[in-house]
Symmetry: C2
Subunit: 278 residues, 2 copies
């Protein structure tokens, strides 16, 4: 077996390559890749991870604890600038704002508080068991069962992941079961282990569970908040996504991610709109 030789300095994984930022002192350049699209637009979680990378390069504490992004306009593929402003820099917590711009227009604004999860001290009490799922090898690849046409229409985003679900999704085949909840396993297809940065992406990587209830051409995120609660173990993540209130085309989507230890490593919530199909 021949190993591909990468130029020196090339990140070894798709995620690391596509979240590379260059610069410093709060002024960063990035390239928005087309490998993490939903439809024609870059996935919100991917763009958030890119911004977190720039924020993490600016603040002095290692771990994002909570981050919120407001999506102003869909980013284009290609070059972008990310301006990071450290609002407060403390011993335990630091807060920064980030603004992603392309051309004259701001596309995404984010606000994050960083800390150090390893140095954190205090009481622990956890009541959040992971969902019961058959092991990944007994689950279905999320893209299985699709015709070549629907497979070609699948987001490039999904091609970056190995996603396993306990039963094949109905809605890509036109069968809506009416249950706005999606459970499954997820990992990067190229084997990159999950970390806090990529959890922001995993938290937006599943198809919207509302698609099992209503047809929609797109479910654009207005705002996404992710709490990063623990550095994940390498390996599969277990995920649950669900929507409880869709009202006049606005919905929340809650996500939870557990690592191989059964620890809840991230909680996410987004507010999104539904663009009707057809």
């Amino acid at each position: 077996m021949r190993h591909e030789v990468l130029p020196p300095g090339t990140p070894a994984t798709e995620f690391d390559a596509d979240t590379t930022v260059e610069g410093g002192d709060g002024s960063w350049r990035a390239v928005v890749s087309d490998r993490w699209d939903v439809g024609v637009n870059p996935n919100g979680g991917y763009v958030l991870a890119l911004m977190l990378r720039a924020m993490g390069g600016t603040v002095e504490l290692p771990d994002p604890l909570t981050v919120t992004a407001h999506y102003l306009r869909p980013p284009d593929h290609g070059e972008a600038s990310i301006a990071v402003d450290v609002i407060r820099s403390g011993r335990r917590f630091a807060t920064a704002s980030a603004s992603l711009r392309q051309g004259e227009r701001e596309r995404v604004r984010a606000l994050a508080t960083f800390g150090d999860l390893v140095a954190a001290e205090g009481p622990t009490r956890v009541d959040a068991p992971p969902p019961e799922l058959p092991p990944p090898e007994e689950c279905y690849d999320m893209l299985a069962g699709r015709s070549p046409e629907t497979l070609a229409a699948a987001p490039t985003l999904l091609q970056r992941f190995d996603v396993r679900v306990p039963q094949p999704l109905g809605w890509p085949l036109g069968e809506r079961r009416g249950v706005p909840r999606l459970d499954g396993w997820i990992r990067f297809r190229d084997g990159r282990p999950p970390d806090l940065l990529s959890l922001a992406l995993f938290a937006d990587a599943f198809p919207p569970p509302i698609l099992d209830v209503i047809p929609a051409s797109w479910v654009p995120t207005l705002e996404l908040t992710v709490h990063l609660r623990a550095r994940p173990e390498p390996g599969w993540l277990r995920a649950v996504f669900r929507t409880r209130v869709l009202r006049d085309g606005l919905l929340e989507e809650d996500g939870e991610l557990w690592d191989g230890n059964g620890d809840l490593v991230a909680m996410s919530r987004q507010l999104a709109t539904v663009i009707p199909a057809g």
Copy 2:
């Protein structure tokens, strides 16, 4: 019965008086009241409502849909400036950033997206029934059963509300039941009806449910996000607050508020830290 005569222009309710902002063009002055304290510090939801009032006076759409505040340093009582920057102003959605400062220091940064819930159009599907609770008149006043000493130590915040719980709280009397969940009814004590602005305060008005598990002198909020989903009906709100993961002194707290129609009107989540008691 003699009615108190208020000077012309005086807001008739505590909440409206204490969230008054003056100014315009994104530059506002406010006074942080001492009537909404927890311990010696103004409640985070109260300060958020104050900032939302300034943001709402700046953007052209009527309803906050999602707002996130990062608490940098506790605000002091007294004068504050609130600078509002409209990041995007669209037909359906507008996003603004707000910064509350006192003296030379920024205390709170917030980011909100506004819209118009009445003009919103699209599909509806709701699966979020309110919690089952005995009617308010069969519940207990949250402050009932406290000795004069513990009542005097109760937050000024709680004195602004009429809060009814299905059973008396144990932890103020030193009896922890170990269930980090708190259900109850809430309304303003002075009869002011709830609206979207005040939902941001209601979402942070209950004592932290983690106090039923561990003693803590303070549970300061690092970040609070509130989704405002519907304009509430006048009358009582039903509320549920719960914490699932407390890890190394960091916890999430999820809140849900329903109006008298049984509609979920707000969902909140915060990341907070626990300051041990004693």
